[in-house]
Amino acid sequence: MKNICRMLGLLALIVVLGACGDKKDDKASSEHKVSADSGRTEITYWYAFGDKIGENNENLVKMFNDSQDKILVKAEFQGNYGDLHSKTQAAFAAKNAPEVTLNEISSIGVFARSGMTEDLTPFIERDSDIKLNDFNPGLMGNSYVDGKIHGLPYLRSTPILYMNVDMLKEAGLDPAGPKNWKEFEEYLRALTVEGQTVGMSMPADIWFFEGFVGAGGGDMLSDDEKEVTFNGEAGVEALEFWKKLSSEGILKIPAGDEASAQAAQDFANGRSAMIFGSTAGLTNNLSIAKENGFELNTAFMPANKVNGVPTGGANLVMTAGLSPEKQEAAWEFIKWMTAKEQTIYASTYTGYLPSRLSAVNSEEMQNLYKETPQYKVAVDQLEYGKARPMADSYPEIANILRDEIARCLLEGTSPKEALDKAAELANPLLK
């Protein structure tokens, strides 16, 4: 009996091991078959975010694969930007990186300077049909690293103001939205009903902070990116403004890791009348507003001394060290993804900015703007768009700044003190 059991156990093991081996072989041979049969070059493309944005990526890749028979792209979801970057970095170290991936725009610099992304300049010079000057100039700032182009604008955004029109009307406010900080403050006050609603729910996000500093005519870093400047006049004024609004209770600043989700939740169920958010969420927000039965409008981020908003989103990049064959395939794919038709598709599908001027002026986009003017706000605002800082240590600096801002809002350090402290910790990282 014992022996039979042992035999059976052994047999099971052999079957399992055999099955594992088979599977591998199957996969390898079937993959091989595809490339052998059709001679297609296979490349992998990594993207971030699910929902509408993920669908957009998957759809575009499928369309690309169907449109030609030379290149086969495999699209793979990798979480948010942070996850995507970490995985790309690890995969690159393991010499297993995807041929094409996304870089969040403030990380273009660190990836390019550490030699992970290919310089696209030679490809662009060779292919005149790429029409570089057709890309919106407001979005190109984050494409250049040391004078070379390391990424092309793909899913790009700016923060905009989302408003619940029903609540605005009820409070007797113009649904067009506040133009400047003074009006913004008045809106917040008028929209706040103690214990029930708050004017706005806004996470203390560095991206929004960049917008407020920009509105005061300031910058986060000096031009040579050797020194922080967020503790200058514009920065202090911005943080003082946040603190004042939040202590009056008309601006809710949720804290913690889930602050953005919290703010979105507050807005969706009518607890807050306004939120700031990426234009990328527009399609999604429109459907949320519809589901919850309120009218949604969008506006510029309010100006202070000037209009000045950060841009955001991701550029398409090619990883470095590919074989010429893969490089050509990757370049074809990047070119196709950033072409006019696909730009229109992606922008309509998600709300991301159309990064090509020809796409903005196309009949499809113009019709969309007529039908749903909310889509046009971000495009118009782009006139004031600024590039994000690209210093290698910017992610860490943003982290330091986030902590010090939270300390100011939650624990009562003064805005000037908080920003000076952040600057003191951040400056050595830029040296």
Binding site: V110, S114, A255, D257, A259, D403
Partner: protein, 289 residues
């Protein structure tokens, strides 16, 4: 088979290979990296000597991280052990109800930590969470569980204790059942009080279990990562950042792999010291049969 003296070595070779490849080599490489400034990718690693260590030990943020880790570990382990010891004493008897309770408190142990984190995030939501809804019934205003630096670390400790209790209780019950009944009978004959029986009999007889759980618990909680990565991201204001999360943050978010390795070396040292200390000091006081 006539492999002679080589036989045992051949037999352990696979295990040693795996151990070397996935344990010794990474440790060696980590120590090597801790003396370098490297971003994981660039072909050249800059040798910087002990600079990483000097920066790390002067870093106010890292000091807070260390403090958080110690507080987290001490509270998690002591709370889990004391609560589960009480539960074990109560549950160590036969009956359907006791079996059911034991099963119920054990169930968190088999759920993935990621799911648990998501679940508790909903429970602890300041405005919409079940916990605050419940507290509101008693007129207590909303507690900002995870979003206030004063309560965030404690909230994570609550989750860890909740998750750990079932497993600890199970081990304690096993420990209790291995204590011979005759010494209890002897104590009963002498009319010893319950408290005295517990302190003079149960506790010493249980000390091997207690010792085992303390070490396992401390080492485990020094390595806490999932709940922090999912529930707080180390915030707000660095209040829940612990060593492993700090290593991850520096290595994979800020591209400072050398610096992260330095923190890793320090963690290795701390856990090593703890293990040795406990084995040497506590093992003498522990009663083995």
């Amino acid at each position: 088979m006539s492999l002679g003296k080589a036989r045992p070595y051949i037999m352990i070779f696979p295990a040693i290979l795996v151990f070397t490849l996935f344990f010794l080599y990474p440790i060696g490489y980590m120590i090597y990296l801790s003396f370098h400034d490297w971003n994981f990718i660039s072909p050249d690693k800059n040798y910087v000597g002990f600079e990483n260590f000097a920066v790390l030990l002067k870093d106010a943020k890292f000091m807070q991280v260390l403090q958080n880790t110690f507080i987290y570990s001490a509270l998690t382990v002591s709370l889990t052990i004391s609560i589960s010891l009480m539960l074990a004493l109560w549950l160590n008897r036969k009956g359907t109800m006791y079996g059911f309770v034991q099963g119920a408190i054990f169930s968190p142990h088999i759920i993935s930590l990621v799911s648990i984190s998501m679940l508790w995030m909903w429970l602890m939501d300041t405005d919409y969470g079940l916990l605050n809804w419940f507290l509101n019934l008693f007129g207590i205003t909303n507690v900002p569980w995870l979003t206030d630096p004063k309560t965030s670390l404690l909230s994570l400790i609550i989750v860890a204790v909740w998750k750990g209790i079932g497993y600890y209780t199970l081990i304690f019950i096993a420990g209790l059942q291995s204590i011979p009944q005759d010494i209890y009978e002897a104590a009963a004959l002498d009319d010893t009080s319950k408290v005295r029986t517990f302190l003079k009999l149960t506790l010493p007889m249980l000390s091997p279990t207690l010792f085992f759980l303390t070490i396992i618990g401390l080492i485990g909680s020094f390595q806490v990562f999932e709940t922090i990565a999912i529930m707080t991201g180390g915030g707000p204001i660095n209040s829940t950042n612990t060593i492993v999360y700090y290593i991850y943050e520096n290595g994979f978010r800020f591209f400072k792999i050398g610096y992260a390795s330095t923190a890793g070396v320090l963690l290795l040292g701390i856990i090593g010291v703890f293990t040795i200390l406990y084995f040497r000091l506590l093992s003498r006081k522990v009663h083995y049969q």
